[in-house]
């Protein structure tokens, strides 16, 4: 097997890797170099300054504030999003009448399967405008709803409130993300063999029990991968934040790293520094990803 195997591996990897190295890796390697310069981004002038940018970054309060917001998003958005997505997927894939068991969701599953995905299709710019109207303190739907149900004390200028602006944007992120993971989990659940559920039902396992003992472990790989991917997208979030609170929110309370990076690069003309922010972000993430993968490692379930 040995020789043929390596030839096969090489033949499968060569072209994709070439493409990836030329168009993705090499620009970023150059970016890595740029992060050690004082390049302003709009001429060929630049000077190598070693790690100065990173030293400055370590003491940059606004950067750490933005980083903190990213970490909050990194924890909250995936947990809530994946929770909702799992629940919805369970209901529509496995939530049917228990007697018949298992496969097939509640009534109208086909409809839900199409509809739940829609938020993922709505362009972020459009979602930004929509939710800006939704949170409008006077004319917005949210405050109107709160007044109707008598929760007047909860009425507030959502996007202008240092405490609630970030949660308000978090909700939009979750809204936009659930559909994708819903589809993913649904597919994963469907690839779990039916007889596994049949066996569980014969054993008399309840729905909760079935979920925690069978469904969850069976699709654990998908969940893990999703968490990491969602975490990565949370590092960005640029488009939505820029569409809804372009100046970083009240007192920079919703400033995220990618916005700060953008500000440094294009508003202040400090591309070298901005690139250092990008490099730092990338490193932080890779560390987190490795830790997360180690911590959640389980033996693979073969079936």
């Amino acid at each position: 097997m040995g020789y043929g195997k390596y030839r096969f591996i090489a033949s499968f990897l060569a072209l994709p890797l070439l493409l990836y190295v030329v168009f993705v890796v090499s620009p970023y390697v150059q970016a890595f170099y740029i992060s050690m310069t004082d390049w302003r981004g709009f001429s060929a002038n630049q000077k190598f300054i070693g790690l100065d940018n990173f030293v400055e970054l370590a003491g940059d309060q606004l950067f750490w504030k933005a980083m903190w917001h990213n970490l909050l998003l990194l924890i909250i958005v995936p947990v809530v999003t994946l929770g909702i997505a799992l629940f919805l997927a369970t209901m529509t894939s496995l939530g049917g009448r228990r007697g018949l068991l298992a496969r097939g969701g509640v009534r109208g599953s086909r409809f839900y399967q199409v509809v739940f995905f829609f938020p993922h299709v709505v362009p972020v710019v459009l979602a930004g405008v929509l939710f800006t109207f939704f949170y409008n303190p006077e004319a917005g739907l949210l405050n109107a709803l709160l007044r109707v149900i008598g929760l007047d004390w909860a009425v507030r200028p959502w996007l202008g409130d240092t405490t609630f602006a970030l949660p308000a944007l978090t909700v939009v992120l979750i809204w936009g993300a659930v559909g994708f993971y819903y589809v993913l989990f649904s597919a994963a659940m469907k690839s779990v063999p039916t007889d596994v559920f049949e066996a569980a039902t014969l054993d008399g396992a309840g729905r909760m029990r079935t979920f925690f003992s069978i469904t969850l472990p069976m699709i654990w790989d998908s969940i893990q991968v999703s968490y990491i991917y969602l975490g990565i997208t949370m590092l960005d979030g640029f488009t939505l934040f820029q569409a809804m609170l372009p100046e970083g929110g009240p007192d920079n309370s919703t400033l995220i790293v990618s916005q700060y990076l953008y500000r440094k690069a294009f508003v202040e003309g400090r591309f070298g520094y901005a690139t250092a922010i990008g490099v730092a972000l990338c490193l932080v993430f890779i560390v987190l990803a490795v830790v997360a993968l180690r911590a959640t490692r389980r033996e693979r379930i073969e079936f």
């Binding site: 709009f42 060929a44 800006t132 303190p137 004319a139 200028p157 959502w158 970083g248 294009f266 003309g269």
Partner: protein, 475 residues
Amino acid sequence: MTSSGLDRRQFLQRLAAAGLLAVPGAGLLSACATGGGGGGGGTTAAQGEKTATNPLGVPADLGLEVVIFKGGYGDDYAKAHEALYTKSFPNAKITHLATTQIAQEMQPRFVGGNPPDVLDDAGAQKIDYATLAAEGQCADLTPLLDAPSVDDPNVKVRDTLLPGVIEQGTYDGKFLMLNYVYAGYPMWYSKPLFEKNGWQVPTTLDQMMALCETIKATGISPWAYGGTNAADYIFDLSLGMAIKQGGPDVAKKIDNLEPDAWKQDTVVAGVKALEEMVRKGYFMPGSEGLKHTEAQTAWVQGKAAFYVSGSWLENEMKGIAPDDFTMTAAPVPVLGPGSALPVEAVHTQPTEAFLVPAKAKNVYGGMEYLRIMLSKAGAAQFAELTASVPGVKGATEGAKKTPGLESMSAVLDKAGSNVFSWKINTWYVNFWKSVLQAQLGNLLAGRIDANGFITTVQAEADKLAKDPNVPKYTR
């Protein structure tokens, strides 16, 4: 620059030798080779013979590439200007490019040393002006200022410009950018609403506070603002009053980042006025959670009486404001008696920067294009197609005007030479956004008081003054 270029070249060569960068390395190296050298001169630019009709000596056959920010003004006006250019130079091929993503599209071309010949650098994705100036990427436009105007050979171009245009485009003593659109920053109100209620536009702070109380009693909010992205509009009220009271030097000290510039008496008084207005509830509730578009909408719906913004406001709200809204401009009040500038004085700031890149192939063609923009025909075309005022004297004379434009013109006429401006928002955009705008948001939402505002802003300004990474300008 040369030594730094070498550092970089060596570094890249080593990477390339390591086989990492074979293709892209070559790309940046060539960029480096064609780049280099600060600018501001354009001495190597191609130049033809100077004649009476071609005072800048434009090479008649050389092509011209024009890049236009296609925002609210569209790009029809630019096509009209290009047609005028073709009339003078029929053999020059004109390339017209319209975009909204100025920075992202133009960045590789500035780095690669092949920028266009004319760049309209505007919009949210514009390239930071101070950066371009500091990098020497803009040709010095002094030859343009000293050239005779298109319409009258005895009048130089510099004498056809409205006050403030030259100052606005000057960095370190060089005129680098022609800010073509002449924007004023008054307070705005609906004339019928004020007439119906018998309200008089205030000229002093005391009058204004009294009027606010009256307005508030009717259930209308005296003021609105868009707190999530445009809290700084309100600064036209506070800093405007301060400068009118203390004179243009007040702004100059702030722009030059002088010690204690923010602690000048009139500046503090202006900020205190805002604090008082916040305390008395003169701002529309919830304004801190609104975008400028939402706040303006609430205002044209009659939920608030006053709004401050630039003279583009009417155009921006076209199709949203009721037809009988009759948007009307008035200068902001003075703090009290004995003001250094009369109450008619108004904040103006030319915007929409047109520049000729120093490394453009046709620098003089670019300048000629700007000269044509500033001709009577060019300016009239712009005014007609965009309903906005270009920074040229007499450009809108005889033009049909909307109510807002009409009253803005009247305000500018009355102000005469009593116009003032500040540069801190264009010289230090990041400071303006992340410090001033954020702190102003805090002040207007009642999270901090006037003293807190002044202390924080002064501390940050001092920090900025010492920051070696930000290029400094003075005036």
